[in-house]
Symmetry: C2
Subunit: 278 residues, 2 copies
Amino acid sequence: MTTDLTLEDVHFRRNWHPAAIVGHRCLARGLSDIAAMGGTPISAFLSLATPRGSDKWICSFLGGLIRLARMHRVELAGGDLAQSHSVISADIVVLGLAPTRRALLRSGARPGDGIFVTGALGGAAATLLTLQKRKRIRIDGNDPHFYPSPRVAVGRVLLEKRIATSAIDVSDGLSTDLSHLCEESGVGAKLDASAIPISGTAHKIGNSLDLALHGGEDYELLFTASKRTRVPRIIAGVPITRIGEITRVSQKDRSAPMILMQEGRRRVLRAEGWEHFR
Amino acid sequence: MTTDLTLEDVHFRRNWHPAAIVGHRCLARGLSDIAAMGGTPISAFLSLATPRGSDKWICSFLGGLIRLARMHRVELAGGDLAQSHSVISADIVVLGLAPTRRALLRSGARPGDGIFVTGALGGAAATLLTLQKRKRIRIDGNDPHFYPSPRVAVGRVLLEKRIATSAIDVSDGLSTDLSHLCEESGVGAKLDASAIPISGTAHKIGNSLDLALHGGEDYELLFTASKRTRVPRIIAGVPITRIGEITRVSQKDRSAPMILMQEGRRRVLRAEGWEHFR
């Protein structure tokens, strides 16, 4: 079971994001959490607060949300409506199922495991940066900022074929989400900068490695697999890339367990993705 | 499973409601929904959005929420935190269990059934009215506005002893919640005004029948029981009062199925409780 808040002026802006896209992104966040556990999403519950006179906005929002729900055969099973005196807020709850004691967790990574990521990173952050520069943008159905694709089918294969030892979705940014996984598994990580798959959009606007490392909202899956496991290059139609290896945490390194190898040089990688209350 | 939104300046005001009380009321709304189905609440999930610098407020809020959770042996099992640029919003999800196909529904009332209510009505609305008149008020642990008591134990007895044919909680006001129950059961209702238990606080500020009929947030249970069922006068320590009878809907009356008998006169009772988007 997973809950995710979507707030106007924090997670979206009405002049940047059409209502249907806000609906899509709202549900995508919840589905991605279920995907990261290898679960099958079953039903969703929506709590929506909108200012008076938002009927048309609500219809478009629900249209976008329900379209994505149908694609994943998820039922919008209930929720709550309230009138807000200020901004729009939407809380989505998604209920998913996984076989008993088989759900993928953040805590299962072991030293020596490979680190893998689905798709490409940095694309959502690149589009956000473009929006922030007030540049005109054409909304594209493949843009992960507007239409993130929760990797539900990939997650299910990772669980069913016992490929992954741990998993998390890249919602806050690779550096931050990898640090969560390392922390909960009690391990470190070594990433190869040249191996990280960077989205074409991120390449175009420069600073692409930073966007891929720290930009959030790509909703790709980050997972680990044992050395002995053969990890397919494509799962459920999505490319899978090995980007590094889980390492042991020595007493000395406990405070900085993530290392980035870049052009033969070794530097400490800090969690610099989206963090609340920072 | 139930979700309820609590919004600043809609459901509470920071200068009227201490944070711990907001936390209590937030969870109480969810627990009351579970109580109305005769369920046992198991766990709660909280999505909380607060402006920067709300750490102290959050601690008190969680204190109030967790205190009530402990009383009901409910685990706060997860949730989401976000930073809001405007008001506080809190969405509470409560997961409850009931025996398969035994949960109390709104749709089970049949003509001839008695209509019952727990506790007394109008107290929460009376306190709200006092607050709106900007009168000083002493916060009292028994005031249903500040410290509503979700009737979880009563709901469970109604289910286990097969007393109730239908149930709903009085969150929007007796007239509105009874109309929901009538609509979903396809029945009408006749209430006896003199039988409605009115709270002492409502009596003090006058207009007490209106407060009891249309004031919301009392979180008492409204239920129906067959004529053949002996309904105890007290269940789990809470007084139970018979306030009327479920009636047949004739083709003629379909549009106005609720009748209030008052001093020998018969008048149509309209749903005039709290309704969103009105």
